[in-house]
């Protein structure tokens, strides 16, 4: 196990296959997210970006291979996975970021100041008592980022954080992500806007169920790679044969020849 300048690798993927009902959504992925990485996950719809992030937080089980994690991981799902009609205030939503410290019972009063600071950082001061259902899409996204700030985790996973958000909010939130990067945190984000990825994310993993390329953004987002990603079929094949590749099980590490490796070419 290698150790980067910021400590041990937070996430290692070993022969990882993730999916639903035996059909892989991520197929035989090897690689390491190094501490301090600012990594973009790019690929067409159905490429397995969300699946990979869910696998990384342990939300769905591995069909094959494994994910090695070290340390706490904060995760932000796509916005539509959260019930915004529930009568909860912005303060309470963001404050739940302190769960690891406050738990189920301890008062949040002690954390009131830090919650206020986090809300101010994302531009939501004065919104403390607003019910989350009355926020606009962009404001709600800011509230979720405040919760991420309060979680204070070394690794942060973001699933399409900028979908349906206006340019100014995106700019503010990208600045926040840059701050996290400068603080040495590891950030992995599923994104669709290639210009944005090229401008702000030094490393990229291009997925289309199979990993296409993983490395520095300039070398991954080439016309050739993008064309390959587009051509890989999105449809499930109900009659797909059982995968003939070797199994990766438990703690046994092994070399996986048939599908090729997709390690970092270098650290970003």
């Amino acid at each position: 196990m290698s150790a980067g300048p910021h400590g041990p690798d937070p996430i290692r993927l070993v022969g990882l296959t993730l999916g639903y009902d035996r059909h892989p959504a991520i197929h035989h992925l090897d690689g390491t997210v190094r501490a301090g990485d600012l990594l973009a996950l790019v690929g067409p719809n159905g490429a397995g970006k969300s699946t990979l992030l869910k696998g990384m937080v342990g939300e769905i089980p591995c069909l094959d291979g494994r994910i090695e994690r070290s340390g706490a991981i904060a995760y932000m799902p796509q916005a539509d996975e959260i019930d915004r009609s529930f009568p909860l205030s912005v303060l309470d939503l963001a404050g739940m970021g302190r769960w690891r410290r406050a738990g189920a019972w301890r008062s949040l009063t002690r954390h009131r100041d830090s919650i206020g600071v986090a809300l101010a950082t994302v531009g939501l001061d004065g919104f403390e008592e607003r019910p989350i259902g009355t926020l606009s899409g962009g404001q709600f996204r800011r509230a979720l980022f405040a919760r991420l700030i309060l979680q204070d985790c070394p690794v942060i996973l973001l699933d399409e954080p900028f979908t349906g958000i206006d340019a100014r909010t995106v700019e503010d939130l990208l600045a926040l992500i840059r701050t996290w990067h400068e603080e040495g945190r590891t950030v992995v984000a599923a994104l669709h806007d290639l210009a944005q990825v090229r401008a702000h994310f030094p490393a990229t993993l291009l997925l289309a169920r199979e990993p296409i390329a993983w490395g520095p953004t300039t070398r991954v987002l080439t016309a050739e790679n993008l064309a390959r990603a587009r051509n890989l079929s999105e449809a499930w094949d109900e009659g797909a044969p059982v995968c003939a590749g070797p199994r990766v099980s438990g703690a046994r590490a092994h070399d996986h020849g048939a599908h090729g490796h997709h390690h970092h070419e270098d650290a970003a």
Partner: protein
Amino acid sequence: MIDPFGSLVAPFVEFGFMRRALAGCLALSVSAPPVGVFLTLRRMSLMSDAMSHAILPGAAVGFLVAGLSLPAMTLGGLVAGLAVALLAGAVTRATTVREDANLAAFYLISLAAGVLLVSLRGSQIDLMHFLFGSVLALDDAALWLLGGISTLTLVALAVIYRPLVMECVDPLFLRTVSRSGGPVHLAFLALVVINLVGGFQALGTLLAVGLMLLPAVAARFWARDLGRLIPVSMLIAALSSVSGLSLSYQFDLPSGPAIVLAAGALYLASMLAGPRGGLLRRLVRPRHLEA
């Protein structure tokens, strides 16, 4: 009816059985509505209806074994209700069919079995007792049970409040920070079941849902945040209990339906006059604000 206040209070002053009925209903009024508030917020209102049907066969087995015995029927109801809730939950996790569909399947099986069991031995009157309860015949044991259920519910809700709220809003987030999601969900289902079993003593299996859901839904027209929804729903349930019991005494009506109808009337009144999205409020709209 010269003195409406007197006629409201008189039956409770005069008759012990009315006081007992009131005590039982008030105990239920502080425990069932908060559970109902969470059910409505999770869009699981009809789940409680299914659960109330699921309780029937358990109570029927208790009745077959021990006659009209409170502990036997309560225990039977608890076991059947929890079994249906857990089975539906387990099948949902193991298969791709959604929880509401599984719950419907299990409660229908359970209900049919219950009706069959009751009719095997009981008379029509027994069946009516099952379905519509007997709030005017609450004995000491029943009152202790209702008080115990009420206490347990409030303590349990206080303990699981924060994870329960998170489980409703953002279950995925809860899973990433804590393992309490699963146990909290089960504990909540158990609270639904014990409150329905409690309500079944007083109001019968079918009407127990009324005191759980009607005040909770009515409260949505008065309050916006959880901190107010819960006390408002308790208040509405208590008002329904007092007025329902009193009316049932005045006009010689069956008490269970009278209480639930009182709750229904308060719901309709809230729907019309409530400040949060009530109909009247929508008809006489003040001019919009500047920002």
